[in-house]
Symmetry: C2
Subunit: 318 residues, 2 copies
């Protein structure tokens, strides 16, 4: 029931995925049973790739996360994360209240060992190939060590799920020189130089768009602004150039339409969570389900935990 | 001699402006006399709208600003700002080392009364009309009161130069709610609500592109990232759609080509300074000269000083 277009678009997206011959997962739809079944009927779905799990509580988009978790234990998002904890699901996707989804994941799944604060990562287009941008808004006022954790999480995801070998990692900054940016960014730069990462240094906004970094790290505030700007740019160009049908234009449309990007990947948890755009439509939901499956199959949480604990052990005094 | 394409493009841009029948200013070109005169000859310019002022010292793009000011008193940028201080020029434009230009302006012109830290503002395109984005990178780790000064400076410029009546002011943030964003942004939001401005609240990246705010305020780090992203995005769309010649496409090209935007406006100084893009070509230089003239004619520095001192007097205890 989460997101601006629930339940219609959510159920329609699930049906899209269920009917896709490349699907290699099953779908548990968590929401008020009668409502969800009614939507499935409207979509003419009677296959067995979708199971409805009754979750009658409804969390509003602007509800306080902690309040929602306390008073609505039978919401779709809590139900779906709890199924993962019980081993009955391997990933959870929500288009709903993102604070509540993050809180549910944190409370029920917990953090991957040694991750101080989970991040929201997004696979975003660049002029070269998709890049992982994080944090896209789960955190504010991060310390340098937290930004370094983000870099490590993003790097593991880019390698495990996107198949990038030794992905390049850049720090989003206002100049290439080490001494540029806020105090926290300057400290982060020094820590990243020493981390077991393919750190390529600071990356400016222009070079980020050009695709200089496979993994781009920014504080949650700035990362969120970047993500939303990219959405805004896409919408604007779609409006201006949407009727252009050259090969280049079609490719641009495919890459930049944010519905195709899979949603916000929660990295640093003891499990797999995805927060889609609140305005996610059926196409976005369909993509998020496929992304969640890849994310789970690649066993990203275990890989992140392993990488981080190895680093932290090495850096402890003998 | 500043910028990546000096002296060729700088002189060519000055000649472009000099030959423009709408020009209502004269140009003092500050650089090594023989070199500049040689360039003028190459451009076939022999009119009297351009005067060459000998300034033999050359500041490198990566030179330390304080070092450059100390050791190179006869650089183009110092010479040109000093002319303004003496009342022989009304505005200074540089494509060179932006730190050195800012430092020269601060040292020679000084700050407008009551402005704690000058900002770099840019007139950027949106889906509606141009907006003033600031700070674009002159500062880092700003306090809330500094961000409020930025809002006031930007608002005065938008009104005085761009002719926007009662311009809307937004705070670039990661959500619309007051409690979103970093601690500093939350504090800034509260201060902006009380300021004599047309404050419309937080503006997310997407809504900024849509043109929700005439003046958009962000810390220098994030503002710089936004500006560079916009440049990168323009370059990408130009590559993909550059050959499209519909009316909408031509309009997009005109609005989004950052060479047309006039450069970085230094707001909060006791004078008029513009830092153009390091990669400014003749078209960009030409636009910056026209912008500098408007900026000076509108007497923005005096208006900013007046507005800020009135506010600070009112807020003092009786």
């Amino acid at each position: 029931m989460g997101g601006d277009f629930a339940p219609e678009q959510i159920v329609k997206g699930a049906v899209l995925a269920a009917n896709n011959p490349e699907r290699d997962f099953e779908i548990l739809l968590c929401g008020p049973e009668a409502v969800v079944k009614d939507e499935l009927k409207k979509n003419g779905y009677s296959g067995n790739a979708i199971t409805v799990i009754d979750a009658p509580d409804i969390v509003a988009m602007d509800e306080s996360p902690t309040q929602a978790l306390k008073t609505k234990p039978k919401s779709g998002l809590v139900t779906c994360v709890a199924l993962q904890k019980q081993g009955l699901a391997q990933a959870s996707v929500s288009a709903g209240n993102s604070g509540a989804m993050m809180a549910a994941c944190l409370m029920i799944l917990g953090r991957a060992a040694d991750v101080a604060r989970p991040a929201i990562a997004c696979a975003v287009p660049t002029a070269k190939r998709q890049a992982i941008l994080l944090d896209c808004g789960a955190n504010v006022d991060e310390k340098a060590s937290v930004l370094v954790d983000f870099a490590l999480c993003g790097s593991v995801y880019a390698e495990a799920v996107m198949g990038y070998e030794n992905p390049t990692v850049g720090l989003i900054n206002m100049g290439e020189e080490e001494k540029k940016g806020t105090e926290v960014l300057q400290e982060t730069h020094q820590l990243l130089k020493k981390a077991p990462l393919n750190f390529i240094g600071n990356v400016e906004g222009r070079d980020f768009i050009k695709g200089h970094a496979d993994v781009a790290v920014a504080p949650g505030y700035t990362g969120n602004v970047i993500l939303k700007l990219m959405e805004g740019f896409y919408e604007l160009t779609h409006e201006v150039f949407g009727e252009v049908k050259t090969e280049k234009a079609n490719e641009f449309e495919r890459l930049w339409d944010y519905r195709n990007h899979g949603g916000g990947l929660l990295l640093g948890l003891n499990g797999v969570g995805i927060i889609t755009h609140g305005r996610a439509d059926s196409i976005a939901i369909n993509h998020s389900l496929f992304t969640a499956c890849k994310f789970a199959k690649a066993d990203v949480p275990a890989k992140i935990a392993k990488k981080l604990s190895a680093i932290k052990q090495n850096s402890e005094p003998a």
